[in-house]
Amino acid sequence: MTEKGARIKIDEYKGPLGKIKGFEFTVGKVVSSDYEEWEPMGPTPKPIIPTLRPWFFKLMERYPPFYMPICDMCCLCTFGKCNLSKGKTGACGIDMKGQQGRIVEIACCIGASCHSAHGDHLIHHLMHKFGDVPINFGDKIEVEMPMTRLIVGMKPENLSDCLEAMKWVQNTITHLLSAGHTGQESSYLDFESKSFLAGLCDNVGMEIADAVQIAAFGFPKGEADVPIVELGMGTLDTENKATILMIGHNVAPGIELADYMREKELEDKVDVGAICCTAIDLTRYYEGAKVVGSLSRQLKYIRSGLADVVMVDEQCVHLRTFEEAKKVNAPYIATNEKRMEGLPDRTADPTQEIIDDLVSGKVKGVLILNPEKAGKVAVEVAIKVKPIRKGKKSIPDREEAIEMAKKCISCGNCQRNCPNDLPLIDAIEAAKDGDFKLLADISEWCLDCGRCEGECMHGVSPLDLIIFAGQEYIRNEKFNMRAGRGPIQDTEIRNVGAPIVFGEIPGIIAPIGCANYAKEIQELYILVEEFLIRGYIVCVSGCAAMDIALVKNEEGETLYDRFPGDFDRGGLVNVGSCVSNPHICGAACKVANIFARRPLRGNYEEIADYILNRVGAVGVAWGAMSQKAASIASSANGLGIPAVCGPHSAEYRRMYLGRTDNDEVWTAYNARDGTSGHPVAPAPEHLLTTAESIEQAIVLCAKLCIRPADNTKGRMIKITHWMDLSRKYLGVNIPDELEKYIRVEADIPINMKTEILEYLKSKNWEPREVLDPTIVERLSKKYIK
């Protein structure tokens, strides 16, 4: 069903019906059925809370929630604080698992609403600017917006159609969020079921946000050979040009800024760069823009005095950026209603007046909610303010840094307040003697949060010292990355569908998400390079897409220089920003739809079951930080795509862990004959888990690519990689429980056959059947011929 507005207007009519003049008739919505248009409707369009609950509960039979409370109390109502530890319940009756499930569900709702509100803003902004633009990604993509088709059951033809899908998202999030109120949901499993549904909302909200900006701004529509763009804190020409730093995720003001620069031919006077997803999205539009880096670069960049103007939009922006910009005399422009920062709303004021006020310093920051005006103001102010600012920094010079270090009494408060427990005491101690090497070394481990500063009672800023010590690195940080390409083409899916499902392409590895790494920012590079060399498909987005490019090989090439952007064996696909993530889940859905001809429309459970059992895709959120990352994980997990997170993600409080030693849950129906109770490999082992080190994560990713439906050649290839990586990174010759992953002798890697057969003999292994597996009873009979 689609709903459209209708308007009939007759200026003047004279005919058999008589005379009509100035007639106008408007109807808010006309409902029409598009049942025949493209695909029969599946069983679960626009799911409400109970609709997919059986599927989510089924997933949690295998992957029960595993809770690690970060706080033992609940402080959400005036009954509290309530201590929930060790089996206690709160005044409302909630227990510890319920509370953890509730907090995670609320986080997922925040994340989903964040992406969706972003998308909603874009739809209205773009319809206002461009009209009702058609959503058409070209000849190579017929199945555009697969998540919206799958979940909402509709195929948006143009921007306004997305409003209907967005209405489902908004309505669903409201219901989900209400469950978090005191005296509502009591079951942790039901909170988790709601978290999964929030993930569906997120998938649709993100997909809409990216689809409408691709359609209206003309971003790349899935082409593999998108431009290589510049990445790094040293890429902006601060010597010769005025510089503008943007931070956030909503590219609308950035687009206007770029348009204004080009229209006025100011590209030789102004350089523009961005941090976080605005950076990626801006380079999808304007090749001249620079990607300054991921979210852990904000304070470093501003304090280094490299931005003449700071312009922020929404999401993941450090809340002290205005304060930081003031310290370096950089005028500050907020552009989004979600982040108004107490600034005067100058949206309606004359442009020149705003420019004059910012340049003269009469005001330090402004709120401009009109993207066009914000873009123009940013450019004009940057040009005028550059000669006034003269690159002012807010970090100490060498002498001041040594003096600051000497004030340190090594109490350790800063180190204990550092999220990564960086060795600040030793580093500052060395700086007292003018040795800044250790401070420079930990620069790449520093999350740039500034938490170290708040704890010092002697006026020492460890972050300032780190930034000072890292100045040379900051100046020279210049790398290449590939711009975001957007969706995966249907033609690519046709080429790789069979090799993925049969396991001959051993997997899709998808490093996504934020930059809250436990160790150095370059660590993720090791993982990505390993899988690219082995012929996996690697899809990246967001901060992870930037951080994997921060290493060059001996030839001076980054991974983007070395590996092609095709969705194919050994391809490194940058889909784009956070809101581009559904292109990765969407690719898995398209494998089911285009390769296996499973219908998408409103058919969530079947597609998720297909992916869980057949598509070896694994997400890697190595630095996940935000509530958005939580909802993105839910969106993947609900579809049967597991994710491996870094150590900080334990602070999300909840994982979905399988147990390889619990044989009861590792059974499936055989869709060849509809019979039940067949043992399958414990694969994927987990739906959401953390790894302690990148070495462990690499091995785990290879293991999680194994799927019950692999054919024997595919299983053999996947086991080969898993074992090879286990030997390389863990020193494990034969992984524990290998026997559970080998069904028949043909599954055994040829070059390890003798020793594996010997091992299998010691485990009393016996061959078992190779199934056509499903975990849904109704699907076990659906395709029997």
């Binding site: 690690m68 033992d72 790894a691 080190s693 785990l700």
Partner: protein, 176 residues
């Protein structure tokens, strides 16, 4: 207990700080009948006076004669030093999940453990896994031998300097 190493990690139920190595030795020796030592990957990189932390732990393992679970990527080193029959490879989160299941049969098939000793883990990561064990088990004593005051462990150390930590571990080993 002393203030947690991660200062905001304050909760109503917090563990006990053990100041004296002799006391810790007594806890390790006397309390608990089925013990397991879970050693993490940080033990390979952290050094005390030029000696790897993992080597201090290996000495303790030998004195206590307990099975070891190697987490992260610590298996290779530990199995080479202790022998493969003594060391099991498992992730920190997987072993925590099994320790929080009262019906788990244990690595040797002889049942759940009543004492889990931890060491060589990232402070904020193991804090979370210890939180699971604190909140959802009643049968398990958890001990963390890293230098940090871990409020989610039943027993942990007192935010020691590296020098103090080295001395603590050496005296602990002597007293086992």
């Amino acid at each position: 207990m002393v203030k947690p190493y991660q200062k905001p990690n304050i909760n109503p139920d917090m563990g006990v700080t053990v100041f004296e190595p002799e006391t810790m030795a007594n806890i390790l020796k006397v309390q608990g009948k089925r013990k397991l030592f879970i050693i993490g990957a940080e033990s390979l990189t952290w050094e005390l006076d030029g000696k790897k932390l993992v080597d201090y732990f290996i000495e303790i393992v030998k004195k206590l004669d307990v099975p070891v679970v190697a987490t992260g990527h610590s298996y290779k080193y530990l199995s080479e030093k202790l022998g493969k029959d003594k060391v099991t490879m498992m992730s920190l989160i997987n072993i925590t999940q099994r320790l929080s299941d009262p019906n788990w049969k244990g690595i040797d098939g002889n049942g759940q453990y009543d004492m889990a000793i931890f060491g060589g883990h990232i402070v904020f990561y193991v804090s979370q896994t210890l939180s699971n064990l604190k909140n959802f088990t009643t049968y398990l004593r958890t001990i963390d031998l890293d230098k940090y005051a871990h409020p989610n462990a039943r027993f942990s150390l007192a935010n020691l300097s590296d020098e103090e930590w080295k001395e603590f571990l050496e005296k602990l080993t002597v007293n086992l």
